[in-house]
């Protein structure tokens, strides 16, 4: 009955290599505390549990003075001896032990790597610890909020998604990188961009232009827009991953660069902006390190259809879902009291269609880089 795991040799926790310092030491401490609690409860013959801060909509609130979403104090209890939670509990412990190994060995891995690291068949059964990666990812987030440690501090990263180009020189893991000399591909923004990994060396740029997706970003890069207007050009492939958001935050806060966003004129675009500006519900606990309340919404605007004299063929009809979503977004506390935003969303609903940034190509291939963005910047016509 007693299961003997094949690999059972655990290094005593005290023999940590001396090189583990600072944050890593703290994270390890937090991990050990979780494990100690389990031992303590079990020794007293009590059912162990974890109180994980809740990552649901109900447990976030908009902090008006800080102007971003904050996590509330609500927690969800995860019990080992609860049929529906037993497996999740086990998985949480597994992820914790995985992260501990990573920190101890001073290595990092992707969330997929961690999934493979921890995935195995539970002894004596045909059951896998994790069925697929979607089982594992939320558990990592749970652990982050539980330890109030960032994913990066757990030595786990997401795959790179998002690219940067512009007048910026930085130091990435010891390599000096001049982001103005990145060819057509650009600098791929890593998921961990803390200052121990990415260090800004020199910056001549005056602002940051964040576009929604790769195709638009290419247009701007090909036209050397960033050179002409001396800016940093980024994209996040739709909803920007936390690496991109964290880097934008650092560019904004450490280098004092204003952030402009060029996103589609649809509820999704509004939402991306909202996340960059106020933080997301899911990662509310990281808002203070990611949200950029001063980020500006440059376009596309609902009024652009008329302003730029676009043809009806670029219209995409709003679906029922879009309409519902738009109404929800209008109700967000950070949009609710902004008349400009209310008008913007109202107009889109009135139009009954959405517009993608690519729609501007119908005017001219380089219309967006040569006319649209420069004009908006010139006019200072953006939403806040």
């Amino acid at each position: 009955m007693a299961k003997k795991r094949p690999v059972r040799k655990t290094k005593p926790a005290k023999k940590l290599s001396k090189s583990i310092v600072g944050k890593d030491r703290q994270t390890l401490q937090a991990l050990r505390q979780v494990a100690d609690t389990v031992v303590k409860t079990a020794t007293r013959s009590r059912p162990p549990h974890l109180d994980i801060p809740s990552r649901s909509l109900r447990n976030v609130r908009y902090n008006k003075s800080k102007r971003f979403i904050e996590m509330g104090k609500g927690t969800n209890r995860r019990e080992l001896f609860n049929l529906s939670q037993a497996k999740a509990y086990m998985q949480t412990m597994l992820v914790a032990s995985g992260c501990k190994q990573l920190i101890e060995q001073q290595k990092t891995t992707s969330i997929r790597g961690l999934y493979y690291l921890l995935k195995h068949t539970i002894e004596g059964t045909k059951e896998e610890t994790f069925d697929d990666q979607s089982d594992c990812d939320p558990v990592i987030e749970d652990l982050e909020v539980l330890l109030s440690a960032l994913r990066e501090e757990l030595h786990v990263y997401a795959s790179n998604r998002g690219t940067l180009v512009g007048n910026l020189v930085l130091n990435d893991s010891g390599d000096q990188i001049d982001c103005s000399r990145m060819g057509s591909g650009g600098y791929s923004i890593p998921s961990i961009v803390e200052d121990d990994v990415v260090e800004f060396v020199r910056c001549d740029a005056e602002f940051v232009l964040h576009v929604e997706k790769d195709t638009v970003w290419r247009r701007f890069n090909e036209d050397k827009f960033w050179k002409e207007y001396n800016c940093i050009l980024t994209h996040g492939q739709g909803q920007p991953p936390r690496g991109v958001r964290r880097l934008l935050y650092r560019l904004h806060n450490e280098l004092g660069l204003p952030v402009y966003c060029l996103l589609d004129n649809d509820p999704w675009g509004y939402y991306i902006y909202s996340v960059i500006k106020q933080g997301s519900i899911n990662l509310a606990y990281e808002s203070k390190r990611m949200a950029i309340p001063d980020a500006r919404f440059l376009g596309l605007r609902s009024k652009d259809y008329q302003r730029c004299e676009l043809t009806p063929s670029v219209q995409i009809a709003l679906s029922d879902n879009d309409i519902k979503r738009a109404k929800q977004i209008a109700e967000y506390p950070w949009f609710k009291h902004k008349r400009a935003w209310q008008k913007e969303i109202e107009l889109m609903l009135k139009n009954g269609f959405k517009l993608e940034v690519e729609a501007l190509i119908s005017k001219d291939i380089s219309y967006v880089t040569e006319v649209y963005v420069p004009e908006r910047l010139e006019e200072g016509d953006y939403l806040d």
Partner: protein, 645 residues
């Protein structure tokens, strides 16, 4: 025309109407013959206070003819009576009295002898011995159907006396007379000598076939309801099956009672009055009926407008009529019920457990009740679940068993080797494994055995089983006319769904359940002379319903608890599955002792799912207060649930 009118003898009548007595076809004739003889033997043994031991032997003479011998260790029959008992229809000790017994009319065994004589021309052979020292009487008897009188064929019409002891045994051997002289001893050695007994041999046209309504089934069911009886059964193939007694305690001897006034019909009352000697009405009433005191007699007479002093001679038709109505109108207490000897709950459990494999048994005996002035009592017992040995066998064991088996087909092998498979189950297993029905068990390759093993493990043989209803009247199994019987009707009209079984409307419930219903009465109301089904008197139906409900409730409790225990067991196995992982992960993080932590966690898990331990702990401990099944419940331990990770 007038010249053609003549008297019909009872024997002649039954010779022509043999179906009335249960001799409709050769197969049933065999059963009826065995049954009548065994019933008589049991009655005789019990009456004499002897623990019954019975030998039943079937010998096939040719395809259509069988010789049936039944021997008991009863008191034996006095010489004078033998020809009358076996050679005269409607001769018996039981018809005129109101006492609970298996036989009632005194037709049975002589009718069997008559049937044998009609179909084979062979006489009935009887040996009876009343004491070790006295000679045994040997008779060959025929029944004269015209006169309903016995004809003795041997010993010049006087039978033969066989001396006791060794000399007699030699004589019997010489003349080819079978007699079991010794009880079965230990290690195949002969045991004690049988002091007395009767052996009857009848040769008849018959057909031997196993299965429903067979001799095997009858004997098996008899063994269930009569746990004090040992039956040795030798079938025509020469195989001997022994149903051993599980108790040596005889059922209490039922008392003979006088009829209860309510149960007497007008015609019978008139006859009784006519037969009575000259006496006062009050004397007549108190003397011939039970529960009639002088006070009650006075009330009856008052209601009838007759004097208590009136002479029975002077009661005419009209007065009898008044008297009959007065009896019905007067309140008379129920007949005393000590004339009934129920099997008893604990013996029922023993008997059922001995023969029917299962995991849960319970029994209920209703208090005695009365229909038409006849006391009766209903007993119900129930067995649930088949302890299916086929599921637990290992591949090695199966291979070994197959090697040892001398069964001709795989189907037979399965049926003979494993308890509770049943014909349907065997068919299903063979079908799943992809074998033909005639597959021989000796020529299987290891691959085939593996396939069979897998099928035996996977096939759910309890699925689609319907409840088996065993019906008994005065300890005699009823095997035919199931649909016409009040017992079956009562089982079908009971709502078994509320006790955790599935049941279609108006059908027997399904599931691995066996229900045994026993009606004991001084006069069992059969629907016909062949004693195959019980008539549905409302009082009987009511008692049947209440009895079935009381075992049903216990079954429901058991099934619910079993389900709960299973759920808890499943819960625990889910927890246990993850505990190892949790312990390893934690020790990985803080270096705690993994095994120690694991033990602690398992302890907590056990505490959290304590319900699943109920079964494990119960051995030797009283059933916990929470689930109190009451008396007379037997639960056969099965392996602990859900502890395997």
């Amino acid at each position: 025309m007038a010249a053609a009118q003549k008297e019909i003898s009872v024997s002649e009548f039954f010779a022509k109407n043999r179906h009335l007595l249960g001799f409709d076809n050769p197969r049933k004739a065999l059963l009826t013959t065995v049954k009548e003889a065994v019933d008589n033997s049991l009655d005789a043994c019990e009456e004499a206070g002897i623990v019954p031991e019975i030998w039943v032997e079937l010998v096939a003479i040719n395809g259509k003819r069988y010789r049936v011998s039944i021997q008991d260790n009863g008191p034996g029959i006095v010489k004078k009576q033998i020809p009358l008992i076996f050679g005269k229809l409607l001769y018996g000790s039981k018809f005129h009295r109101l006492q609970m017994s298996r036989g009632q009319q005194g037709i049975g065994i002589s009718a069997a002898g008559m049937y044998g004589m009609l179909t084979t021309g062979q006489p009935v052979k009887i040996i009876s011995k009343i004491s070790v020292r006295k000679p045994a009487h040997y008779y060959e008897i025929q029944i004269d159907t015209k006169t309903n009188k016995p004809e003795i064929l041997n010993g010049r019409g006087d039978g033969v006396d066989i001396p006791p002891g060794e000399k007699g045994r030699k004589y019997m051997e010489k003349h080819g007379i079978d007699w079991v002289a010794f009880y079965e001893g230990e290690d195949g050695q002969p045991g004690k000598e049988i002091r007395s007994g009767t052996r009857v041999t009848i040769e008849l046209e018959a057909k031997y076939q196993r299965g429903r309504g067979s001799v095997d089934e009858y004997l098996e069911q008899t063994a269930i309801a009569n746990p004090h009886v040992t039956i040795h059964f030798t079938d025509p193939d020469g195989n001997t099956t022994v149903y051993r007694r599980s108790t040596t305690e005889l059922p209490p001897e039922p008392k003979e009672i006088k009829p209860h006034p309510y149960g007497v019909e007008l015609g019978r009352l008139v006859t009784m009055l006519k037969d009575a000697k000259s006496m006062t009405l009050s004397q007549f009433l108190t003397g011939s009926f039970s529960r009639v005191s002088p006070a009650v007699a006075r009330r009856i007479c008052e209601a009838a407008g007759l004097s208590t002093r009136a002479s029975t001679r002077k009661i005419g038709r009209a007065e009898a009529d008044k008297l009959y109505e007065a009896i019905q109108a007067t309140k008379i207490s129920s007949p005393s019920t000590d004339c009934i000897a129920p099997i008893g709950e604990s013996l029922l459990l023993k008997g059922l457990h001995q023969v029917v494999p299962g995991e849960f048994y319970c029994a209920a005996t209703r208090p005695p009740a009365v229909y038409r002035g006849n006391p009766f009592q209903v007993e119900v017992a129930l067995a649930y679940g088949n302890r299916n040995t086929a599921k637990k066998i290992t591949l090695e064991q199966l291979t070994e068993l197959l090697g040892q088996s001398d069964a001709r087909t795989l189907r037979q092998f399965l049926l003979l080797t494993f308890d509770g498979i049943g014909a349907d189950g065997a068919e299903k297993i063979l079908k799943t494994a992809g074998f033909g029905t005639r597959q021989s068990p000796s020529k299987l390759k290891p691959k085939d055995i593996a396939r069979l093993h897998e099928a035996m493990r996977d096939v759910n043989i309890s699925e689609g089983q319907t409840m088996q209803v065993l019906r008994y009247a005065n300890r005699v199994p009823l095997q035919f006319k199931q649909r016409d019987c009040a017992i079956t009707e009562a089982v079908m009209s009971t709502n078994w769904r509320s006790y955790g079984l599935s049941q279609s409307r108006g059908q027997l419930p399904s599931g691995p359940v066996t229900v045994l219903v026993h009606i004991a009465s001084v006069w069992v109301p059969f629907t016909s002379e062949s004693k195959e089904a019980i008539a549905a008197y409302p009082e009987i139906q009511r008692e049947l319903r209440l009895g079935l409900q009381s075992v049903g409730r216990k079954l429901g409790m058991y099934l619910r608890r079993r389900k709960r225990v299973a759920q808890q067991g499943e819960r625990r196995s889910i927890f246990l599955r993850y505990l190892g992982e949790v312990a390893s992960a934690v020790s990985q993080i803080n270096g705690a002792d993994r095994d120690e932590l694991y033990e602690h966690l398992v302890k907590v898990a056990k505490r959290m799912t304590a319900e699943a331990d109920v079964k494990l702990d119960r051995q030797g401990r009283p059933i916990e207060e929470e689930v109190d099944f009451g008396d007379n419940v037997l639960i056969v331990e099965s392996e602990p649930p859900g502890l395997a990770p």
